[in-house]
């Protein structure tokens, strides 16, 4: 099992009347509510936490991209990754990921990831995401084109990284007469690719065909199980069994010295994450064309509900958060491992909403020293059918 410390870099200082007054913490939530002074201190604190995770022995430190939102303060994850290249030494630097569905110029992403790979000595993992619904409003990109833009940008970036000679690109969304990447990445043939899935069968197949790592987003265990099974089935149809390391389970984790302390501290943090940070209207979640008809039917009939409706106890019971003493967390993650049919990477969100710096540091430390060793043997390929990957 490999472990990474994932950061959303939330802006936790929402006003007391947030619930009544605002439909979301994103898109239309007024930026007058952002304090540059507090934001500057948050960036320093959050980078410290990621750097500490590297020292604690996490296999990866992870950042992601969100726009116009208090939920996550990283419009450019590559900037944060660049900072991490100079202050970490062991961990993979995981950009999970660049929202190539909404980028105007995907070649810029290829260039920046190549730079990061050089700056980090080949430690970069490159996630690609479509960008979530509200970001198609925020950056005025047609959601009907989302999948087409994502697929084309993905193909263009990989070709730009790997082509030993200059080429031209004429696609549905992008045209380049000269693609001739300087610099090229260190890792060959290119940095590993991570793709998050949220139930779309297109994404499962896309990842399985390319042996990209398929990572879950926050959802109840029975639904994530369906996604992981979908990925495994897509691989089976292609004639191989995926390395467990290509399946990454992503979940908020909070560890404290005792169960009582952990729950007392995690409850408000998780309620913030799911009820405020992720508060969105249905129109923001699913702008027109963002989902294929088949995927939308699947989501509607799966019984997935808006996050805000779930209680703290529901979130724990459904595997949308793991909280407790080190022993309890190790035990719970072991059972989730079994319920999900296995996975080889655990991407933990340790800095949850308004958790304090001290809480996050302690949680990460307890996890690294007492939970990781217990789970480390899980999720490792025994045979080696994917040697060609």
């Amino acid at each position: 099992m490999k472990f990474s410390f994932f950061h959303l870099m939330p802006y936790p200082y929402l006003p007391d009347d947030f619930d009544e007054k605002y439909a979301s913490s994103a898109l239309t939530y007024p930026n007058a509510n952002f304090s540059p002074e507090l934001g500057s201190a948050l960036y320093a604190r959050y980078l410290d936490e990621l750097e500490y995770a590297d020292k604690l022995g996490f296999d990866g430190v992870a950042v992601n991209e969100h726009h116009q939102s208090a939920y996550g303060l990283m419009p450019s994850p590559n900037l944060m990754a660049a900072a991490l290249t100079r202050r970490t030494s062991r961990a993979r630097i995981m950009v999970l990921g660049n929202a190539i569905g909404i980028r105007g110029n995907p070649l810029r992403v290829a260039e920046e990831i190549a730079m990061l790979d050089l700056m980090s000595g080949g430690r970069v993992d490159s996630g690609f995401v479509r960008g979530i619904g509200w970001e198609y409003f925020a950056h005025s990109v047609n959601p009907v084109k989302s999948r087409s833009r994502f697929n084309e940008a993905h193909d263009l970036i990989i070709k730009a990284w790997t082509s030993p000679e200059m080429f031209s690109w004429y696609g549905e969304n992008y045209e380049y007469r000269y693609v001739n990447l300087w610099p090229r990445p260190v890792q060959q043939p290119h940095p590993p690719i991570y793709i998050p899935g949220a139930g779309s069968s297109e994404t499962m197949k896309f990842c399985a065909e390319r042996k990209h790592t398929y990572m879950s987003v926050y959802a109840p265990t029975r639904i994530v199980r369906r996604w992981f099974d979908g990925y495994r089935e897509a691989a089976a149809e292609l004639g191989y069994e995926p390395d467990p390391e290509r399946i990454a389970f992503s979940v908020p984790i909070y560890v404290a010295d005792t169960d009582e302390k952990a729950h007392a501290e995690a409850r408000p943090a998780l309620e913030w994450l799911y009820r405020k940070g992720l508060k969105q209207t249905p129109e923001m979640v699913t702008p027109p064309g963002y989902m294929s008809p088949g995927s939308l039917r699947g989501v509607l009939s799966s019984g997935m509900r808006p996050f805000g409706g779930a209680s703290y106890e529901d979130l724990l019971a459904q595997g949308q958060a793991v909280v407790g003493s080190p022993a309890s967390v190790a035990d719970r993650l072991g059972s989730l491992y079994a319920e999900l049919g296995g996975f080889g990477q655990l991407i933990g969100l340790f800095a949850i909403g308004p958790s304090t710096h001290e809480q996050v540091m302690r949680s990460a430390e307890l996890f690294a020293t007492e939970v990781m060793p217990v789970l480390r043997p899980l999720g490792v390929m025994t045979a080696n059918p994917q040697a060609s990957a």
């Binding site: 005025s140 009907v144 129109e283 702008p287 039917r297 509607l300």
Partner: protein
Amino acid sequence: MADVVPAEEFVELAEGRVHVLRGGAGEPVLFLHAAGGAGVWHPFHQLLAEAGFTVLAPDHPGFGKSDDFPAAEAVDDLVYHYLDVLDALGLSRPHVVGGSFGGWIAAELAVHSPHRVGSLTLLSAAGLRIPEHPVTDLFLLSPDKLVATLFHEPPPPPPPLPPGAQPDLDAILAGYREATSLARFCWAPFLSNPKLERRLGRITAPTLVVAPSDDRLIPVEHARRYAERIPGARYAEVADCGHAMYFERPAEFASTVTAFLNAHPLATAESGVSR
């Protein structure tokens, strides 16, 4: 004419089928629907047909019972699409009436091919970019807010589903398909073609621009701008009415439009009523 019964037909084009509702007898009126209302023979259609016109109401690509025509991805593609539809229907120069999104298509058609439009009626048409009077982002409105935005006097909300009842997935998916089709053509630039305004001088057909008095979606300044820029255009307002227009006040809209159409008969040799 009070016994008009609409007929349903499909026009076969190279890239798919277009669903058309046809009713009435008389000069042809091509009716281009708004974002809502595809595939339905509405009281407004019935009133136009009863007033002595042949109403031809096609569903746009990706709406109602028309095919998706996935290659069409911008309003210029819709202009070529409707030139094909006119040819397939044997209409050389019909009256063209368009509401909202359909009004935008009608204006673009009349700019592109002025000789194919016998008269032009724009009912609170989208299509213009007026930054100081922006169009409301209907894609971000919840269903109840959308209704409140569209109507001067919003109808009561539908009763909530009884506990345990499942929502109608097919209806949800059909609505999502039409929203997706609308977004395909108008997400950005939002419901407009920034070049359209300066091209409106090309329009030669007699033109009527109608605005509802209380339009909360497309501000009335858009209709006024159309009327200013289209040579010789007339302007009319329907009182106590929202952007839902002919859904909210079908009789008033029908009488305003039929009075205009009657005042501008098509030259019979040109109308091209072929069947």
